[in-house]
């Protein structure tokens, strides 16, 4: 019964669309809603991250609307067009088509790199500005698409930064570490990151004892940990998703493998409040170079407080990156004083937005990449996650090497 009602609604909506598509957006009167597409994989194997991403975007939209909407457009409210990519690129692309039909003005999404590749392409066909929330693959911003803007860093920048910080950390401690071992997940972000790390570390004098690639999901890490035990690297570098990261670190603890550091790069669980809460013991001392907010900015903590108050939700990078991607869009719309796609795109391209709480400085997009974007190094200390590098943002001293 409910289904029939929804179906009728769907048909009515489609008919209404056909009519309203004939009218230009502003012609229906003042303060027409600005439609922002929020597109993420909220079902399928990426559902966890997808739902957190959606939460972040929705929080921002609700806040903006509560404060009186977009001032430059006469207080126009933002209307959210939700999309589910079902963890598949082709479904993501179909959702973009649908959003286009519904007159979307801009899109934020789609978390995973493979899906982002498809959604940005589909959006480009219609000139829809598309802010990439997370998707770290560098290919995303290397295709010459004028509509694509990535607020956060890509994995080359993240890998380069990780290598430099690792070296810095080691040098400051008088170089106790000489060897590393990389454990990465087998798909795009893990492989890409691992390749970059393995290429650069030897140049700085580190022996890469082994690079171990594992599947998603991996049911058991005992063998990998056995190999770590046998190779005995000074530093273990994981780059994987939450579940595998948690299992790896737990297994290392069980087997009594304690390297001088677990130095994650885009570690799935390393800088996750959920992980720290649930596995306090195993998480202690873990280092991560990942997306992180500027700890000196009060607004970040305010948002964290808000998210913490929501039952069973954690303040993760999916949340704050999406939250700020929406605000980035809002800023562009305000400056453009227009909700037209090409105007928003132009405004994003010239954006120098400072209203965020990331350690990026004012935004500056070159070929769609925000050039100031950088990761931060954090460490789990005394049950909390603290920024330890670079010094401009550090909250605590890094503890390296780590003693069990």
């Amino acid at each position: 019964m409910h289904y029939a009602k929804k179906r009728r609604q769907f048909l009515v909506n489609t008919a209404a669309l056909a009519v309203s598509a004939a009218l230009p957006i502003g012609a229906r009167g003042q303060a027409a809603a600005v439609k922002i597409g929020v597109l993420h994989p909220v079902t399928g194997f990426l559902a966890y991250s997808g739902n957190l991403s959606r939460l972040g975007a929705q929080l921002a939209i609700d806040e903006i609307n509560a404060r009186g909407g977009l001032k430059a457009l006469g207080g126009a409210k933002i209307q959210t067009l939700l999309g589910d990519a079902q963890s598949k690129p082709e479904v993501g692309a179909s959702e973009v088509e649908k959003m286009n039909e519904n007159g979307v003005n801009a899109i934020v999404g789609a978390y995973a790199s493979a899906i982002c590749l498809a959604t940005t392409q589909a959006a480009a066909k219609y000139g829809i500005p598309h802010v990439v929330d997370v998707g770290v693959a560098d290919q995303i911003v290397q295709r010459g698409l004028k509509n694509t803007f990535r607020f956060g860093p890509g994995y080359k920048v993240i890998a380069d930064t990780s290598v430099n910080y690792l070296h810095l950390l080691n040098t400051l401690a008088r170089k106790p570490a000489k060897s590393v071992m990389i454990i990465h997940e087998e798909s795009l972000f893990g492989t890409g990151t691992a390749n970059l790390l393995a290429a650069q570390l030897p140049g700085l004098g580190y022996e890469v004892k082994d690079v171990i690639k594992h599947a998603n999901p991996t049911r058991d890490f005992n063998n990998i940990v056995l190999r770590i035990k046998a190779a005995n690297p000074d530093i273990v570098i994981p780059a994987n998703y939450y579940n595998e990261y948690a299992l790896l670190v737990r297994t290392m603890k069980q087997q009594g493998v304690v390297p001088k550091a677990i130095y994650s790069v885009l570690g799935g669980a390393a800088s996750s409040y959920k992980f720290v809460k649930e596995f306090a013991d195993a998480a202690n001392g873990v280092i991560d170079v990942n997306h992180w907010f500027n700890p000196k900015d009060k607004r970040a903590w305010a948002l964290k407080k808000k998210v913490d108050a929501i039952k069973d939700q954690f303040f993760t990078y999916e949340v704050f990156l999406n939250y700020q991607s929406v605000y980035l869009l809002a800023d562009a719309i305000e400056r453009a004083k227009s909700a037209k796609r090409e105007d928003i795109t132009a405004a994003l391209a010239t954006s120098t937005w400072k209203g965020h709480f990331m350690p990026y400085g004012p935004t500056q997009f070159v070929d769609g990449q925000n050039t100031g974007a950088q990761p931060l190094m954090v460490q789990v200390l005394k049950g909390d996650i603290r920024v330890v590098l670079p010094n401009t943002f550090a909250e605590a001293e890094p503890v390296f090497p780590w003693k069990a």
Partner: protein
């Protein structure tokens, strides 16, 4: 005969579509439906007409997609030139899987499971070797020109997938009316009797799997041109295998138009449930699953069963 007339009408209808429909969303939906119909038809050749159910048709799909990608990116071949190579490779993989499986007499669930295993093996291999990009996958550069099988308007892709889809339907028609098709269906209905009647069962099955493989790899090639990116999970993952068999079975196995109807039905159900309670992820897919079970319950011979067609 009637099938050919229907195919002709269908072709004309789709050719004229872009003149009447400008909605990018609807055109994309039609493209994706025809694409799914192609995948279903490929499965249908081997499963519906041949009676050999495969759970690993992705092995052919991925081969087509990767062939197109590798030939274009690593060897600089033009997309149209790469397409025949992709089809040939799909057929070759079909012959490989078929030769091994049929030679050792695998039937029924055993055959189904072995195809599943092959798909997994290929997935792992694609994830390992550099020339397939390993875990990073391969992206083909944006070219937006018909000469490179990337079309700036929607019509180009529509006509391409239409051509492939119709090719599949023509193969199905050929199977319904040719001597080879009769042999194949005889093998499906009763392998021992067919052999007793002098049918070369091994060869008949081999031809079927080769054709099936070629058609499926055409689907993979199209996917690559449309979405411009492939990785081992997309190429060889179980999702594609499942979609292909779903479209064929729901539509009606062993018929010419079953896969098309099945694809249309699946997309209709998908779209119809898409907006359902979108604030609660998962509900719409629960509805999808329930509808699937209901369709199977009430249409045991698939949608074509409504038309009283005997397989």
């Amino acid at each position: 005969m009637r099938d050919l007339v229907l195919i002709a009408l269908f072709t004309v209808a789709v050719l004229l579509l872009p003149l009447f429909v400008t909605s990018g969303f609807l055109l994309n939906l039609v493209v994706m439906t025809l694409y799914l119909a192609l995948l279903g038809q490929a499965w249908n050749i081997l499963g519906g007409f041949g009676g050999q159910f495969s759970f690993g048709h992705a092995v052919f799909f991925g081969t087509g997609a990767y062939a197109m990608a590798v030939l274009q990116v690593k060897l600089g071949l033009n997309a149209w030139a790469a397409l025949p190579a992709a089809l040939a490779l799909g057929a070759a993989v079909g012959l490989l899987v078929g030769a091994l499986s049929f030679r050792y007499g695998l039937k029924g669930s055993y055959f189904a499971l072995v195809t599943l295993a092959f798909a997994e093996v290929f997935r792992i291999l694609a994830n390992t070797f550099q020339f397939t990009g390993a875990g990073v996958g391969i992206q083909i550069p944006l070219r937006d020109s018909a000469a490179d099988m990337q079309f700036s308007g929607r019509a180009g892709f529509l006509y391409t997938i239409l051509a492939l889809c119709v090719a599949g339907q023509l193969v199905a028609v050929w199977l319904r009316h040719s001597r080879y098709g009769a042999w194949l269906q005889a093998v499906r209905d009763n392998e021992e009797s067919a052999a007793a009647l002098g049918v070369d069962v091994f060869r008949v099955k081999l031809v079927a799997i080769a054709i099936s493989g070629a058609l499926m790899s055409a689907g993979g090639a199209f996917y690559l041109q449309y979405f411009r990116y492939v990785d081992p999970h997309i190429a060889y993952g179980p999702a594609i295998s499942v979609e292909a068999l779903l479209a064929a079975i729901v539509g009606g196995m062993g018929t010419v138009f079953g896969p098309l109807l099945g694809a249309a039905a699946l997309h209709a159900v998908g779209e119809g449930t898409r907006g359902l309670m979108e604030n609660a992820p998962g509900v719409n897919l629960v509805a999808y699953g329930v509808l699937l079970v209901l369709i199977v319950m009430f249409l045991p011979r698939g949608i074509m069963g409504l038309f009283g067609r005997k397989n």
